[in-house]
Amino acid sequence: MTGSTTQAPGRTRGSLVRSKRVLPGFGLSLGISLLFISLVLLLPLTGLVAEASGMSWSQFWFVISDPRVVASYKVTLWTALAASLFNGVFGLLLAWCLVRYEFPGKRLIDAMVDLPFALPTAVAGITLATLLSRDGWYGQWLDTLGINLAYTPAGIVIAMAFTSLPFVVRTVQPVLEEMPPEDEEAAITLGASDGRVFRKVIFPTLWPALVTGVALSFTRSLGEFGAVIFIAGNTPYVSEVTSLMIFIRLQEYDYAAASAIAAMVLLVSLSLLFAITLWQGRYLRRLLGR
């Protein structure tokens, strides 16, 4: 792990791989990175699996198929899906405005996109709950229309959308910025209407980044806790999310059950990310010929 390639070029000893590298420090930097990934990412995940593996299959199945937990899966999945799809549309629009147009305050808005990342999610949750509750700024107006968002699944969607918006904007933005204007100009000179230029030329180029952004937004929403619990109302079978179920099991000192449910969330997130990466690789290979 501490192998170094800073040897003099004339030295021919060492492995073939080593002697081929021009840039020094490969062994050292990769070693540190791997160590860090192991400590921070892999070790806790292993711990999670180890904790859950203390249970028998029937115990495991009993925990994860508890009706209240299953209801929480459903709520989490559909709210996360709704939030990420909303972000797919709104995030694309926002990225488009930020890249394509010049307007006063553009830099400010650009900076504000990262706010959900920087803000503690609990703060976001409390703020949203206050705004949307029946006597809040938005809530009182919505209430007169007979709409109540706070303490319902709709509130969960709003909280999730808020915390995961930057994923879409920040993945789509660089692709939009690097898109050569010639492609669009070529399409226009060929007589294509604006709509057709967007559908046939711009969108296909954005598509991989947009899907990745939406998928990241979705997986992030699956595990969202802080922002959601303040606004969800947390009614069993109606507005309880899976991460709350994990928390409840922990409070009951049932670590194994908490780990089992957490393992389910992990499984879904990982397989989704893996699938997206595979798909994107194939799509981009066609586009870039790699």
């Binding site: 050569p180 010639e182 492609d183 100009e185 070529a186 399409a187 226009i188 000179t189 060929l190 007589g191 294509a192 209407s193 057709r196 046939k200 030329v201 296909p204 180029t205 066609r286 586009l287 870039l288 010929g289 790699r290």
Partner: protein
């Protein structure tokens, strides 16, 4: 369709990119816009296409004023330097794009579009690549596809922005010939931008030389090279040898130890004499008409001619002189680096004082 450009001006902020451009581009001809980078040639091309709008002035296609017509309704084909193929579409879909973009009323049926695409693929000699994606093609192939795509809708005018600029020398030459023969077959009106003088002279019927947002000269390639209208065109087209000096009372241009007797004895004053490398010859002794002493700096044997680079001896000039002699003459004479020799002019172009247009002189042997 002919193009008429009428007193066109284009400003980018305070920068005047095009200054009072008026130009007629004849129908069915290949016209080259030639100039160094920053001369405004690409801006002019983009304004013709409608990708950029002029600050003042008009553009007419035939008799129709298209100044306010949007790009997509101008019916022009545009070919970009970096191809700008749609990466997410196959070659065939790229070529079909223009036809499929037509409004439903005038769009040909699917079968017909497929047939046109096949015909165009034949024309660009790439029918076997119909199902490939642009990323799988070489530069030359991409540019052919881009050309087929631009021609698919049968545009009135074909515009090409440095079409061969991104290709290597060999492919560039092949593609140039191919475009020329394609043009001779179909006779579309085309305008192409280039900074490569050889390309402009070889390919076009008419060359427009531009510099700093202005037109320097419009002429047929042969006339342009033989009769450049200004110092700029001289410098820009091929190599030119220059001697600057003073004309004395006897009509001799002098500078240091060098002198040339000018025919027709012009009035005394400052003057510059421009001499093309093939319009002079090398001699071992000064002649009665000229004494231009040089030291041979380099001898380049590659090519149809032997190119000899000369450094002035006993006088000065900004650029090194170049003279071409035949291989036969070279083997007879065997000049070497460091030898002294003299140049004797046959045809020259004299700029008097601050005058911008030259006077052509001929010396009798």
């Amino acid at each position: 369709m002919s193009i008429k450009i009428d007193r066109l001006n284009k400003y980018f902020g305070d920068f005047r990119a095009l200054q009072d451009i008026s130009l007629d581009i004849p129908e069915g001809r290949l016209t080259a816009l030639l100039g160094p980078s920053g001369s405004g040639k690409t801006t002019l091309l983009r304004i013709i296409a409608g990708l950029e709008s002029a600050t003042q002035g008009r553009i007419l296609f035939g008799d129709r004023d298209v100044s306010q017509v949007p790009v997509k309704d101008r019916n022009v084909g545009f070919v970009f330097q970096h191809y700008a193929l749609f990466r997410n579409m196959t070659v065939a879909d790229n070529i079909a794009f223009g036809l499929e973009s037509m409004p439903a009323r005038s769009r040909p049926p699917k079968a017909e579009i497929r047939k046109s695409v096949e015909r165009l693929l034949e024309m660009i000699q790439l029918p076997h690549l119909a199902k490939r994606y642009p990323a799988q093609l070489s530069g030359g192939q991409k540019q052919r596809v881009a050309l087929a795509r631009a021609l698919a809708t049968r545009p009135d005018i074909l515009l090409l922005d440095e079409p061969f600029g991104a290709l290597d020398a060999r492919v560039r030459k092949d593609l140039r010939r191919w475009l020329r023969s394609l043009h001779d077959e179909f006779h579309f009106t085309s305008v192409f931008v280039t900074h490569d003088q050889e390309e402009a002279l070889e390919l076009s019927d008419q060359v427009v030389v531009m510099s700093q947002g202005q037109i320097e000269q419009v002429d047929a390639p042969t006339r342009l090279y033989a009769r450049p209208g200004s110092r700029f065109v001289f410098d820009f087209l091929g190599h030119v040898n220059v001697i600057a000096g003073t004309v004395d009372a006897e009509g001799r241009l002098r500078q240091g130890e060098a002198w040339v007797t000018l025919p027709d004895a012009p009035a005394p004053g400052e003057a510059q004499l421009y001499l093309r490398p093939h319009e002079v010859h090398l001699v071992s002794e000064p002649t009665g008409q000229a004494c231009l002493p040089f030291i041979i700096e380099a001898v380049n044997l590659i090519g149809a001619e032997v190119r000899i680079e000369l450094k002035p001896k006993g006088w000065a000039c900004d650029d090194i002189w170049e003279v071409g002699i035949s291989h036969a003459e070279f083997s007879r004479w065997q000049p070497e680096r460091g030898d002294q020799c003299f140049v004797s002019p046959d045809i020259g172009h004299l700029f008097k004082g601050e005058s911008t247009s030259p006077e052509t002189l001929t010396w009798r042997p």
